[in-house]
Amino acid sequence: MESSSDSNDRGGPYKPNRREFIKLMAAAGAGSLVGGSSQAAYAASGMGTHTKPFSPFKKVHAEIEEMYAISRDYQRMRQKNTVFNRGFWDKKVRPNFLGNVAKKSGMIPFPQEGTPGYSKVDWALHWAGWAGHRAGTPLMGAGARNTGNYDDWERHANPKFEPYAFKDRAEAAKYVKRAANFLGADLVGIAPYDARWTYSKWFDLDPSIEDTKSLEIPWDKMKEVEGVFPFEPKSVIAMAFEMDYDALKAPGFLSGAAAGLGYSIMPEVSFKVADFLNNLGYKSIPTGNDTGMSIPIAIQAGLGECSRMGMLITEKYGPRVRLAKIYTDLEMEFDKPVSFGVEEFCKRCKKCTEACPSNAISIDDEPSATSTTGSISSNSGVKKWYQDGEKCMLQWDRNGGTGCSFCITACPFNKRDTWIHDLAKVLVGMPVGRDIARQLDDAFGYGKKTDQAARAFWDKEV
């Protein structure tokens, strides 16, 4: 987090203030050319629209094992052990659960006028971002199955219509992906159902609770249940939702708003996609953070690679996404896992490790097959870097449950999809280039949460 003093008199990015503008002009001697840029120009320039990302070193793999060594004795994870779920039962995590300490001190919410990212308007936006999640399925973010109006496993598993006959699996995939994209998913991929990623036991809300919309649901109403699908899933549709770049660059409530918006969209879109499948006569179950692990499924669906910070890194948005998935009995053509240099880059980069306030991200050069965190929330058996969810949760407690996302912001893959970063992708594909790209990323000032970004967020022309 940066202080206001480090950027105190810099203006917003779309309208650089005088000092910055003079610096820029003076440095270039090209004042008349570069002035007057606007958000309208950005939007109109085609940046940020749905185009295929430039991928010079993309490799398609036959299966996930080609990318990550997965142990033969890999054990499925109990959902109860995920750090979010432990907030419901584990005394070690519970006091730190989502800003619980701050809540106890009455400090949630704690808007501070004059502090960028923490003002009343930032606070208001934060809660507005979360509003859809709160109203629709308030415990989904914490790992519970969708609740309220979004909880309709009964109906989704028993469609009223006869299955529509697609010409072949490729056609089925084409229609489903386009529909998911139309209904709100920024990235869509299809993976075969792989039981390894389904939680061995689910941790769910006691069905006897009626008022599922209330945030006051007693915590002891979460129960561990035997994980049984109401049908045999054949495919899993993985979807990624982009989080706002500008909001994530800002500290405090604003970056929390970006995450919240993602959480509000996740249940809504997956519910709609499940409905689309139901209308075609196929069984489907929309899920968020529940039922199974989203990241390996997204990797199998070709959405991206795993990273040092533990998040999925997509080609287009980097780690700046939220994930949801739909299990269905519709058989479709599967996407293949892809790699584009993330693991190799992560070995040298470690920007997220440096940025993480709670030292939750591994500093080891190489990934390892067993967890290095000593926490039950890390499930060993896959060769990767293990992030310490307990420490991460502690940070969420410290900042009053407004989220954190320093790691996402710091990551060099977290960029807008523009030509200058396409050039960096070329560097990422080469061994020496990785170090250069990492150093340039720092030198050019990317990846920091700044007070200036909070001001720029609100100054953006609409």
């Binding site: 987090m1 610096k23 270039a28 840029s37 120009a41 009455g106 704690f110 410290r398 900042n399 000032g445």
Partner: protein
């Protein structure tokens, strides 16, 4: 794309196209200087790239990437362009009968030494200048006091300092640390800036903080420049205790106002009215009573605070020199004093070394006023750009922002937070102090370059004008 964007990239394309056309024309007539012509091509490409980078980065809301792109790519382009132009035009104007008849090996060793000195100047001036800027702030009593006041103790800075201190305190807590201090810290970091300033006004208003800081800095600088082994400094804490006593009645209402304490229930109100709080201040701040009751219990709270102050029996003054004497030996302190003095001296004078070396380099290499101007222009542009890059990087230095992994146990979190705040403010100040002089150097270098090669530039402009004329069908001049 927006009209502005289209216009921008069209102009950029035009610039690159005509520059290339011009260089091609050169290539045809002077086949021998291909190396330098290639430099010119590269210079055009880099400059164009820098401009396109900056434009796109601004659209991406990444202003620092925008001007870094300009400085790095554009700067490199300018240097290469300047160098290429110089070489091409020099060989173009040099005729065989004008070649110096002096001993060739003399010229080459002098030039060799001059190049080394000039490079040394270019590379070291930004760092030595940075040192000079730091020493300028810390070696001057008034400047240092002003900086510390603005960064730490002024009304403007205080809330931010407290927030940073609490933030780092929080970062250094562990999962199994006790809950209560964490709750208190969370509560403190939630106080509104105005509330923090109000509290400090009750204990040490801005004016008093300023005069305290002036006193402290006067004593420290007197110690640095004098012969005393220990600083002679006594802080009159009595003033602040008096302030606290005088304003004690405001403290209870301040607590009610500043912390999100829940309102008292009817039962709690009755307890307070009955005086069941048993002279326990904590019980009085457990809930917020109605305003009428607050007015009634404020004197009660004040009496309790005054009582606490009496029991604590805090001293009216603290002799800092004596305290230091108890902890650090005179020898150690004298050695530290010597080091500080050396730093002040080196810091203020070191930048002269590269300047003197540059002067020697010029004396060795320059054969005429024109060549002196040409020799001076390159290093000035290069060091100017390097200085601007260095200055721009200062506030973003990652050690000022990234979270430390292994902090020694004896460093408290709040000290780290306050230190970081000071560091960031200093970096921002140094950025401002460095950017302008180096910008001026780069501009001066550019002007000298124009003066040295005015004929060639004129020629280039006329040729370009001719090319425009041919393409757009207008009569050239």
């Amino acid at each position: 794309m927006s009209t502005f964007g289209i216009l921008f990239f069209l102009l950029l394309g035009g610039f690159v196209f005509f520059a290339f056309a011009k260089i091609m024309a050169f290539t045809k007539s002077r086949k021998k200087e291909k190396r330098f012509l290639a430099m010119l091509y590269l210079a055009v490409l880099l400059t164009g790239f820098g401009l396109a980078w900056a434009y796109t980065s601004f659209l991406e809301s990444e202003p620092s990437a925008a001007y870094m792109g300009l400085i790095v790519f554009g700067g490199l382009g300018l240097i290469l362009g300047g160098l290429g132009m110089w070489k091409v035009t020099a060989s173009q104007t040099a005729k065989p009968d004008q070649v110096h008849v002096e001993n060739k090996s003399d010229v080459s060793w002098q030039k060799g030494v001059a190049i080394v000195l000039v490079l040394f100047f270019t590379m070291t001036l930004p760092m030595t200048w940075l040192l000079k800027s730091v020493s300028r702030v810390v070696s001057d009593k008034d400047r240092a006091a002003d900086f510390l006041f603005e960064s730490l103790l002024s009304d403007r800075a205080l809330p931010e300092v407290i927030r940073k201190a609490m933030e780092y305190e929080a970062w250094l807590t562990r999962m199994d640390d006790p809950l209560e201090p964490r709750v208190i810290k969370a509560a403190i970091s939630g106080i509104e800036p105005a509330g923090m300033i109000e509290l400090f006004d009750y204990v040490a208003p801005e004016k008093e903080r300023k005069s305290l800081l002036d006193e402290v800095s006067a004593a420290i600088y007197a110690w640095i420049h004098g012969d005393e082994a220990y600083p002679v400094l006594t802080i009159q804490t009595g003033t602040f205790l008096n302030n606290l006593e005088t304003n004690a009645e405001n403290l209870l209402p301040w607590i009610y106002k500043s912390f999100p304490i829940p309102a008292c229930s009817p039962g709690q109100i009755q307890e307070i009215e009955r005086g069941d709080h048993n002279n326990d201040l904590q019980k009085l701040v457990f809930c917020v009573p109605p305003e009428s009751l607050q007015r009634k219990i404020a004197p009660m709270g004040a009496a309790l605070i005054r009582e606490k102050l009496r029991v604590n029996n805090s001293p009216d003054s603290i002799h800092i020199g004596e305290k230091i004497r108890e902890k650090i030996s005179g020898d150690k302190l004298s050695a530290a004093k010597k080091r500080i003095r050396t730093f002040f001296l080196l810091g203020s004078a070191l930048w002269l070394v590269p300047v003197v070396l540059l002067a020697i380099g010029l004396l060795l290499a320059a054969r005429s006023v024109k060549s002196a101007v040409a020799w001076l222009s390159g290093p000035l542009i290069a060091t100017g750009l390097l200085g601007m890059v260095t200055a721009s990087c200062l506030p973003g230095l990652s050690f000022l922002h990234s979270v430390p992994r292994d902090v020694p146990g004896q460093i408290p979190g709040y000290a780290l937070g306050i230190g970081r705040k000071l560091g960031i403010d200093l970096a921002v100040m140094l950025e401002k102090a460095m950017f302008a002089p180096f910008l001026l150097m780069a501009i001066a270098g550019g002007l000298l370059l124009v003066i040295a090669f005015r004929k060639e530039i004129m020629l280039l402009t006329i040729h370009t004008w001719h090319s425009f004329g041919m393409v757009f069908g207008r009569q050239p001049l």
